[in-house]
Symmetry: C2
Subunit: 259 residues, 2 copies
């Protein structure tokens, strides 16, 4: 089977955009970009020098692969409205299995880059794990080769494993970012500058590269410093949401055994 | 008044150790290290080539400054048992005010490095904000000069501001680290490797340097992807603690307005 050299992108969000740019950069030819919102397809198509596709039925049928990078919620419907495609069908979701593809698609797969993609923030794909899975074994080699254009870390991962990794990623990335959000909000309340915390945040993450999270854990809860814990709860009295988060996480941290 | 050239360290934990090494490196002379646990004082003293002090009453009385880097809970008692010291008394706590010092100490101050210190993990002090405060204005200049030996970011901060910054730091550092802990725990459950998440965690923090936390926020809660949210809650059913954290944080993230 020939290597994947031509791809159609379905979707125009962060994952679709970053992958479109990344593929283009390594010489994968993009045969078209479709989005449910045609203006978005046009915008991304213009940036990448690719053709925007207005209707799913107008998708070119001769691409080697089709990358569906759309919201999990709309993926089933977008697939349902897609024409009969013989090329390799791939989605980019952490939580959706291969069974999302209707039976009429014979070559189905997952191409899930484990990363947080934000608009207007370039990412270096080379270290990003790409979790791959496919219905047919033969396709796995093609997807692996496609991924190796972008990254050195391609992992064959079944749906159950991928779902667990995605769940863990929500805590590690989305929820840690929300902790930064609360910190900024608390500083703003008193007219203080979030930049103050950046060295601390950078060190917090730097530790992860050499220590386990249990070994890295510091702070009043870890020290069982109840005087400070009580002062903090008192300071959060006016904000029941932050109070509850502070209380429940501190309770858990006290139970961590770092030895 | 002469610049601070000689310091006695009270305490032997992470903050005391890192500051002892940092001071020594920039040529501040350490006249002794006291710890309630004499063996700990001995250990740190041996590493820094300093004299270990067995009793608080044996603290040299001729140092320019005394750095009390002990747990907030024991600080009042350690101060109570200290001899009458005429040099500058400093503590390193984020949450404790100047009023912790008994009245018999006339020159009192705070020297709070805003960083997470972990045993056996060196930190670069140069970018660490050091929040300073003092009872007498004249001392503030001395403390500022002392801090500038270590860092370019010395901030005069009153107790109320420092407490709020410390509270924000608990979210930004201790609680985000706990999110990494949960992530690792979830991966271990299925025999998966935490290293997989490191590029994601590094990118999560890298974003903080160019985007606000609200702009950086991604994930199923941000997208209001209820299909994924429900799947995740289902996957966490066996762990009510993680389930509760997932639920309450996701609910809050949905309310973030990033515009």
């Amino acid at each position: 089977m020939r290597a994947i050299q031509t791809v159609v992108i379905v979707g125009s969000g962060n994952v679709a955009s970053h992958l479109a740019f990344a593929f283009k950069e390594v010489g994968i030819q993009l045969l078209g970009i479709y989005s449910r919102h045609y203006e978005n397809a046009q915008e991304l198509a213009a940036k990448t020098g690719v053709k925007a596709i207005r209707n799913l039925q107008e998708i070119p049928l001769d691409a080697d692969a089709y990358l569906y990078a759309v919201n999990d919620v709309v993926l089933p419907e977008v697939l349902k409205n897609s024409p009969d495609i013989e090329g390799l069908m791939m989605h980019t979701s952490g939580t959706v299995g291969l069974d999302v593809f209707p039976d009429r698609f014979k070559r189905t797969a997952v191409f899930y880059p484990l990363q947080t993609f934000t608009k207007d923030k370039e990412v270096d794909f080379s270290a990003i794990p790409i979790l791959i899975e496919s219905k047919n074994k033969a396709d796995l080699k093609l997807i692996d080769a496609l991924g190796r254009n972008l990254s050195t870390s391609i992992r064959i991962t079944n749906s159950e494993q991928r779902k667990q990794i995605h769940l863990a990623a929500v805590f590690a990335c989305n929820f840690s970012n929300y902790m930064f959000y609360i910190a900024q909000d608390l500083l703003q309340e008193k007219g203080l500058d979030f930049n103050l915390l950046k060295p601390l945040i950078n060190e917090t993450v730097d530790k992860i590269n050499t220590l386990s999270p249990a070994e890295s854990q510091t702070g009043p809860a870890k020290r069982k410093d109840f005087a400070t814990l009580n002062k903090h709860l008192e300071m959060l009295k006016h904000n029941p949401v932050y109070l509850n988060i502070y209380h429940s996480i501190s309770e858990q941290i006290q139970k961590i055994n770092s030895k």
